[in-house]
């Protein structure tokens, strides 16, 4: 009706981007948006994880449900997850939620035949869909130096004669349902600090006092420049919002020497993914999921029409 819009226009600047790690700055938006993104990244971005396990043979030292639990926690590459359907919503399968559209089948067959302990790992899980496989954690560069890292996640260890044979179904889910479906290892954001040093008051300090101020901070935020003998800010983002420096400065009898504010609309995000989804893709999926949630929460057409009783026209019609 009216053209008013109270939209904000956030800005993003990426500092570091790797496959499973992203660090970026988010500016000109609200803490509620930053927190919503964080919550969605942890709990509501869908992934694929093993959800149903049928065990044929298990003579290992771990019992069936123990192994099934461990299988569920193995991260699977989930690029397909956003386009897949939830098993409960799938109409293609005959009700058991195991069709090719809504699930991926895995099988594992391991038997220890020699005297050496057999390590059954995530690399022994064979998928029916080559795009959904257990995440490979081996670093491409250290391929030949460290063969231990290439073996995948250990599921169980078998002795001679012990066998494990099972069939597993992986489904789409979200972290809110069970943490195995959470694609995020950790997602954090911090307010960007703004540090002001009052240079005039700093002049009145002796060298020992300056050193004590610099050392009062548990993290290396300040440093004493050896050439100019001035206290400088060396890494503002190392500040963890403990007020140690401020308390020290007050104890010295010089309040106002250093002032630290948190910028209310500037956030530094750190996103670490489990490997199921790339870190940058995780953020993009989180934005999409948040949009879907907002869409679901809109008022429907029929409720909007009951609007006439409000507003000036309504008041006029009622004789007011």
């Amino acid at each position: 009706m009216d053209g008013a819009s109270y939209q904000r226009f956030p800005k993003v600047k990426i500092r570091e981007l790797k496959d499973d790690y992203a660090k970026f700055e988010l500016r000109e938006t609200d803490a509620s948006m930053a927190n919503a993104l964080r919550r969605v990244m942890i709990a509501e971005v869908p992934t694929i994880a093993i959800d149903l396990v049928e065990i044929e043979v298990n003579s290992s030292v771990l019992n069936d449900e123990f192994i099934a639990h461990r299988l569920g926690l193995i991260p699977l590459t989930s690029e397909r997850a956003m386009s897949m359907r939830f098993s409960r919503d799938c109409d293609a399968c005959d009700g058991d939620g195991q069709c090719e559209f809504c699930s991926v089948e895995f099988h594992l067959r391991a038997k220890c035949i020699n005297d050496q302990t057999l390590d059954v790992t995530s690399k022994d899980l064979y998928s029916s869909d080559h795009t959904v496989v257990p995440v490979d954690f081996s670093d491409a560069t250290s391929g030949f130096e460290n063969p231990e890292d290439q073996r995948g996640i250990t599921i169980v260890k078998l002795r001679k004669g012990q066998e494990l044979r099972l069939r597993a179904i992986a489904r789409k889910g979200i972290g809110k349902d069970h943490a195995k479906w959470s694609p995020a290892a950790t997602v954090t954001f911090m307010y960007e600090p703004e540090i002001h040093i009052n240079e005039e008051m700093m002049e009145t300090l002796s060298l020992e006092e300056k050193t004590s101020v610099v050392e009062s901070s548990p993290t290396k935020v300040f440093a004493l420049n050896p050439h100019t003998q001035q206290v400088e800010v060396v890494d503002p983002e190392a500040y963890t919002y403990d007020d140690e420096v401020l308390k020290k400065v007050e104890a010295m009898g010089k309040p106002g020497l250093i002032e630290i504010y948190a910028k209310e609309d500037s956030f530094i995000f750190t996103v670490e993914s489990t490997g199921a989804i790339k870190a940058s893709q995780l953020v993009i999926n989180a934005i999409d999921v948040l949009k879907q949630k907002l869409d679901a929460v809109r008022l429907l057409e029929d409720t909007v029409e009951a609007d006439d009783q409000f507003g000036e026209l309504g008041a006029h019609m009622r004789g007011g």
């Binding site: 109270y6 907002l294 008022l299």
Partner: protein, 116 residues
């Protein structure tokens, strides 16, 4: 023993509407929206956006109980607008903000990846 199933946190049962509202009988231009199976993620973001609207006199949300998975958003407006209008405007503005954020983020990722 009495804990609800985990899927109750986000699956709306048959017959329940996702969003419903009740006008306040005593105060004009005031309404409470009940949103089923949502939590602080949506509640806080909608509330903060409603605060930015000049026509909104009061906006707040609460979870009546942590084991009941719904939120109640209460909005009072001036006579220039109505709670439903303000609510829809807030959702539309948030949608546009997220579109903008996605475009900016994707452009930034392309720029950073293109540098390698």
């Amino acid at each position: 023993m009495n804990a609800p199933d985990r899927y109750e946190r986000f699956v709306v049962p048959e017959g329940t509407k996702k969003v419903s509202y009740e006008r306040d009988t005593k105060i004009i231009n005031a309404a409470s929206f009940t949103i089923e199976r949502e939590d602080h993620t949506i509640g806080n973001i909608v509330r903060m956006q409603l605060h930015r609207d000049g026509n909104v006199l009061f906006a707040g949300y609460k979870l009546p109980h942590p084991l009941q998975y719904k939120i109640i958003v209460r909005v009072h407006t001036t006579s220039q607008s109505s709670p439903m209008q303000a609510y829809n405007l807030a959702i539309n503005d948030l949608d546009k903000e997220l579109d903008h954020l996605k475009a900016v983020f994707e452009a930034e990722v392309a720029r950073v990846s293109g540098e390698y």
